[in-house]
Symmetry: C2
Subunit: 868 residues, 2 copies
């Protein structure tokens, strides 16, 4: 049987898995000779044992911790359960992965009437003794016995009211004595300190599986069965006297990253008083004046700890009668901006190297440099929660239609566009909106994709909303009614809809941010490209470091009002000739757009996807618009309506789209290729290198490629012949149907690149429509049937297996093939790791995800290096 209990002088910081973060660090500080109240740790494996035994403490554990207590008693010079010279314990949980606020702890354990008396006698501080006793009773009652905390609070409150006290400091020893009696009536606590200890240990173990702990682990993808350690530490008392106190401190400023010792201190107070906000603490600097020796010692310790841990530390300390005790050290939480500044400065200080700095920044922390964010400190009222579709924080007036968005935005008002879901017809409204909120749709719905592309904050799939377009209002499930023109804020990073205007932190780059991304570029193997079609997006992508365009969705170029009309005429054309005529007009737009893109990308590859969506998406669906189109075409509403309905599809995602359009209407493909290649030649003539890559979407069989590629090449050859010049280009395919992946080997020799379209591939592999997943995804996540929305985080075992196999098999047939990804997963850090591991050449993501992707790509490489 393994050792279950470790004294503080038997472990070190590397024992996190076994002793939990808190326990391992207490051991480490003890080893460093710092003033740590002595104690011991019951291991996480004992917790797992506890659950295996059906929530029973394993046999023999009692003897083990009795022995440990004896060791502690020796060092502390007092005895557990001895009224003459009592030793009290704090009993805390501590898991390997920090789970702040998730686990419960009990202080001052080992207390009863006798011992309180003894403590009063020994310390000569009766008020302290009974204050300590009542604290113990309340904590033990709530944490171990499951009593509602409000009962204790009310009892105290009633007492203070009756006595006319304003603050706890006014209560004297006799007051606390009365309250101890009252508290004991709320719930009786066992008198035997050993029984208290046993129950506390059990309670800590059980707290591993409280609902809130389960939810936290689910949200943060922490494995279920790690278990928690129990730290049993001798108490010291910041509330003992005026030359006592408690405080928390950071070795650097956790908000800004500035290299200053930063913290707060509360005189004559226990640690929990600092956190609870009952009294306002003083800045740590004032400690230098009030207790200079303790401050000097603390300052030295914090400096040493940061050097020792090579990271910014979050410390807890207590001063009892002028003597400093260290109760905790851990890596300090910090804002994204601080994280980057600290990491880069630590490299400059020689504390860590570039690789370590890169690995320390979570890709999400980068967001803070790219979008204004809701200030985490701001007070806010969350009225509804949806999916965090596009990050950032915005405030604006609610509108319920794209047209209204345009109208209100014209008055310089910031606008939040609220829709059931968005369609390409809403683009003009989305362009002017500061934020987008939809009741339906997932993380890869139209609203989400477009919003991320534009860097606009968005929340999608907010099922809490019931939108009533007619009344121009929405009602939340909580009953909040929001009318058009009311002001709301969106936290797109959390998916929270907030009432009114909420304070934000502005986005801005920083020298450290640029330095960090520069290092990322040095270490990553994956090229980072962007999904972009507008000139603004392309420019943004390039500014943020994109090395190419991996997905230019040409259809998005046809939604402008003047273009959509021609597109519709083209689609509804009854003859080949008619269609050709409208295509000629579209050609001009397309060519102009492509020239702009080529100029911006200036020699970097530009991957243009041939027309992909079902044609039906371009057609009007509202009666008014149908009537207008009918009028324009000189036909009746009924005929037009029936024509449009004919093009309707039961499952458009699996319908007449992608390269199926190229097969049935090769003239559309020809027009597109003409526009792309002639644009490229013209831009070349301006002295700007261009590399057009033509991408065929939704391929299911090599014969589709064999049918389309010759068409493309014939058009290109004709243009080359006509212009008497040429350029190099590439033809490739999207890999977005399971069948294409299964037959990649056959497709390989026919193309020069393969780009995994993981949005569609995920839809088909699971049979999940991303637009409809909202009906069951929340339940799937809650029941842990899915760990993550597979449209956010790549499903490695299913979709990933298809990708990996197709790379392995196709590479054998065409070793020169270039592989990329252009689904939304291209911007997701954990998916990027997988993309790197299976040997993709590039990832392509929304422009605003490019910095995130650059960092994640570097981390992917560094992590793989470390594994080797």
């Amino acid at each position: 049987m393994d050792k279950r209990i470790y004294l503080f002088n038997e472990g070190c910081k590397n024992d996190r898995q076994l002793l939990g973060g808190k326990g391992a660090n207490l051991c480490e500080m003890t080893a460093l000779g710092l003033p740590v109240p002595f104690g011991f740790v019951i291991s996480t494996s004992t917790c797992r044992e506890f659950f295996q035994l059906g929530e029973q403490l394993p046999e023999g554990l009692l003897d083990e911790y009795k022995a440990a207590v004896t060791e502690v008693e020796k060092i502390m010079g007092s005895r557990f359960g001895d009224p003459q010279n009592p030793l009290l314990f704090s009993v805390r949980s501590g898991a390997a992965i920090s789970m702040p606020g998730m686990m419960d702890s009990i202080l001052n354990l080992g207390m009863n009437d006798e011992i309180a008396k003894g403590l009063a006698r020994k310390t000569g501080n009766s008020r302290f003794a009974y204050d300590t006793y009542r604290r113990f009773l309340q904590m033990f009652g709530t944490v171990v016995l499951g009593v509602e905390n409000v009962l204790y609070k009310n009892t105290l409150q009633q007492y203070k009211l009756a006595k006319g006290y304003q603050s706890d400091t006014e209560l004297q020893a006799e007051d606390w004595k009365v309250l101890v009696r009252n508290f004991l009536q709320i719930a009786s606590v066992p008198e035997d300190p050993w029984v208290q200890l046993e129950m506390a240990i059990q309670a800590v173990f059980q707290s591993w599986n409280t609902d809130r702990a389960l939810v936290y682990r689910e949200m943060n993808q922490i494995p279920k069965n790690l278990g928690t350690a129990v730290t049993v530490q001798s108490m010291v008392y910041g509330n003992f006297s005026e030359d006592s106190g408690s405080g928390v401190a950071f070795t650097r400023n956790p908000a800004t990253g500035e290299r200053v010792f930063y913290g707060e201190f509360l005189q004559n107070a226990a640690g929990e008083d600092v956190v609870s906000g009952i009294r306002t603490p003083q800045p740590i600097e004032q400690l230098a004046e009030s207790m200079p020796e303790a401050y000097r010692q603390l300052y030295e310790i914090q400096d040493n700890l940061e050097q020792h841990y090579q990271d910014m530390q979050d410390l807890e300390f207590t001063i009892q009668e002028g003597k400093l005790y260290m109760l905790q050290t851990r890596e300090g939480k910090r804002t994204g901006r601080a994280a980057v500044k600290i990491a880069v400065e630590m490299v400059e200080e020689g504390l860590i190297d570039e690789q370590e700095a890169l690995l320390r920044i979570s890709p999400e922390q980068i967001e803070a440099f790219l979008h204004p964010m809701i200030d985490p400190e701001a007070t806010k009222k969350v009225i509804a929660t949806g999916l965090p579709a596009s990050p950032g924080g915005v405030t604006g007036r609610v509108v319920f239609s794209a047209d209204d968005a345009v109208k209100v935005a014209a008055t310089e008002e910031s606008v939040i566009l609220v829709r059931q879901e968005t369609t390409p017809e809403d683009i003009h409204g989305m362009k002017v909106a500061s934020g987008i909120l939809t009741a339906m749709g997932g993380m890869t719905s139209h609203a989400a994709v477009v919003a991320r592309g534009m860097g606009v904050c968005a929340i999608t799939g907010c099922g809490d909303l019931s939108i009533d377009y007619e009344r121009q209002q929405f009602i939340t499930t909580k009953g909040e009614v929001v009318e058009a023109m009311d002001v709301i804020s969106l936290d797109g990073s959390k998916g929270e809809v907030l009432l009114g205007n909420v304070r934000k932190v502005q986005a801005a780059s920083s020298p450290e941010f640029q330095t960090l991304l520069g290092w990322a570029d040095r270490y990553r193997q994956l090229a980072v490209w962007a999904n972009a079609e507008t000139l603004e997006d392309a420019q943004k992508a390039k500014d943020l470091g994109a090395e190419g365009i991996g997905l230019c969705r040409t259809e998005h170029m046809f939604f402008d009002p003047e273009r959509i009309v021609i597109m519709r005429l083209m689609i509804l054309a009854e003859t080949f000739e008619e269609r050709e005529e409208h295509l000629r007009q579209l050609f001009n737009f397309q060519q102009k757009d492509m020239k702009g893109l080529f100029r911006i990308m200036d020699g970097a590859p530009v991957t243009i996807r041939l027309l992909d969506p079902p044609l039906h998406e371009f057609l009007p669906h509202q009666e008014e618009e149908v009537r207008a189109l009918a009028l324009h075409l000189g036909t009746s509403f009924e005929k037009m309506d029936s024509r449009i309905k004919q093009l309707d599809e039961s499952n458009p995602m699996l319908g007449f789209r992608g390269c199926r359009l190229s097969i049935v209407y090769p003239e559309i493909t020809k027009m597109q290729v003409q526009a792309i290649i002639s644009a490229a030649l013209e831009v070349c003539a301006e002295g700007i290198k261009t590399i057009p890559e033509i991408m065929i979407p939704l391929v299911t069989d090599v014969r589709e490629i064999e049918a389309i590629v010759p068409t493309i090449k014939a058009v290109i050859d004709e243009i080359f012949l006509e212009k008497g010049t040429s350029l190099s280009y590439r033809i490739g395919t999207m890999m977005e149907t399971p069948r294409a992946c299964l037959l990649a080997e056959q497709i390989a020799p026919q193309v020069e690149f393969m780009s995994f379209g993981t949005n569609d591939l995920t839809q088909m592999t699971y049979g999940f429509s991303r637009d409809d997943i909202g009906k069951f995804l929340p339940v799937y996540l809650k029941q842990q049937i899915l760990e993550q929305d597979p449209f956010i985080q790549l499903d490695i075992s299913g979709v990933g297996r298809l990708m990996k196999n197709s790379i392995e098999e196709s590479r054998l047939k065409n070793p020169a093939l270039i592989y990329g990804i252009c689904g939304e997963h291209g911007g997701d850090p954990s998916s990027i790791q997988f993309c790197h591991d299976i040997g993709l050449n590039y990832i392509s993501c929304s422009p605003y995800r490019v910095p995130v992707a650059r960092l994640a790509a570097a981390q992917a490489h560094l992590r793989l290096l470390r594994k080797k």
Copy 2:
């Protein structure tokens, strides 16, 4: 270099690939010593050479066929191109696989003015000589020179008109001479017989690639590059004299299969006259009277040939001046009924064995025993063509709604229900209709699946129709207008819509049919189950030999008017309690249905799929019905409408359905399981063994199974406990998402059977919605991007690979797993072969496909045996 030319005495019947069917059989007959006019065959590989050389005859071929001609001259005692003693040839095509009417042939080749004169002189029959000459000119002109045949026909017609002739027999030598001159003016034919021969050979080769040949090969899935052989055979003349003639005959009756010598003969006529129908031939029996010696010889030969070939033969013969010549023998085409009778009788006669008999029947030939068919001999007018969704032939009055179908059917009239597409709401109309015709939808659309299930003739995806519900008519692309109550016929086996009442052949079993199926059962390894949910279907399936039910779609049980209302209330229930109440009512129906099924299946396994379709499918969509439901529920139309719209999905196939329903609404699953198990127990109590198999649909992850199976088992255990009894049951899953197949290994230990739902699996693997495929499938088939509709014939390389892999990987984890298929492919013969090859245990198909599947399963096994 390979030998290119084979004299008739250098080959045999096994040389089909090299010499074509016709050439090989002529060689075989020559070897048997039968009276075959001598000749030679140019091989199919020479044809392939010809195309490789860009349609040039290979060097050296000329010398080779000159040598061959010399050999023929020796045997025939006459010389090619010699006016004194001319030898004429027929030049015919002949591919390895019979392609009737697809390839062109030229008779009487080697003719010119001089030779005609010589022939007249030698035979003393000037009329014959010039008749032969004009026949040659017309054939050479049309086949080799590409002249329109109508020009020759008109010339002849004009001449006869001018002369007042009624029939060709009235024309004398001088008349034919004049016509020869006229024909030569239509197109000049080279005089040199050797040039004629060279051109003819080229023309035959080229005819391999005529449009009609291409279409035929595409339709019949014959590989593109087999090539044709050229048979060059000495001419004999049935039109030489009154004791000459030509005929065709079958060794058995090709319509009924009866064992009688059967054929037709035309006196003093060339072979082509028999076929062309210019004169009415006499039954072969009359030959016994007019030319008893020739008849006796022919009778003996046909008997020998059948014995020799061990199959019914189709013969062509010519009698010249009383002497019999054999021109062709081949396997005779026969009707489905004849095929079965012949095969079974030949086994009884000891000519072939059971295995051979089984392999000779094409599964399609079985259809004739199951459905009345349109008489192939009947005159008919095809007004539109669609997909042959459900076989058979029917006639009835056109109606355009399910309600009208019911009304008209009530008057005892036979009804054809014509709809844009059908939905579950049309079921009551489909039930009473004799045939179903839809403008939209594929082979696995709702209409097709339901019709096949009911054994009702149906044509779907008939894009030729433009239906106008308001005017109660449809218009075909050919401009035919059909009004409600007009009479049309459907040929569901061919997909043809026919005007009026067309004669049919009635379906009926036969002793031979039962014998054959009995043999099939002896040889097949695959169990054959059926997809059925109604008692009628289950009974039908059992009668046709189904050994179990592989798919009972429980949702179909809820579409009856009285049930759908409760189903709707259940779906729209706002609370768990409300839903429970409606579920209790549904329970009663479900339990009753299940009892019926168990009783019928009497111990055979019954696989019940849990509720699968998106709930939206159960809700009303027409305003009227929505209003009715709103009234029923005491709510407003607007509210009801918006509620229904809320449940609407963008891509319902990929939406909230299948086991996703079980996860979100476990109470529905519980009700279903209660109904199934309590029904099974009650039926057991009646002394009838029952094996319920509960099937979980649309699984994507083992965790779905892990969530649902315990729910199912808990319900079952509770029932067992309550009733104090138990029975054995199985729980399994459908494999119908690519992800389930990719992760089969994980799913395997959790289930007892896996049933491949290849309809959905095909949809997701390709990203093809079966309801929308009509927009591009015709183009895909035409361009040979797809060889077959993948919803009809299993896609072996994509979908099949997923199936094969998942079997291989899952079997390792659970060797006891039972594998089946319950998609539409379970009834498709070529897909059944694959199912057998990858080791499925059973196939499940529509009841009316069961006999087809039994035969195909036997053939699959026998073919695999023969390969080994």
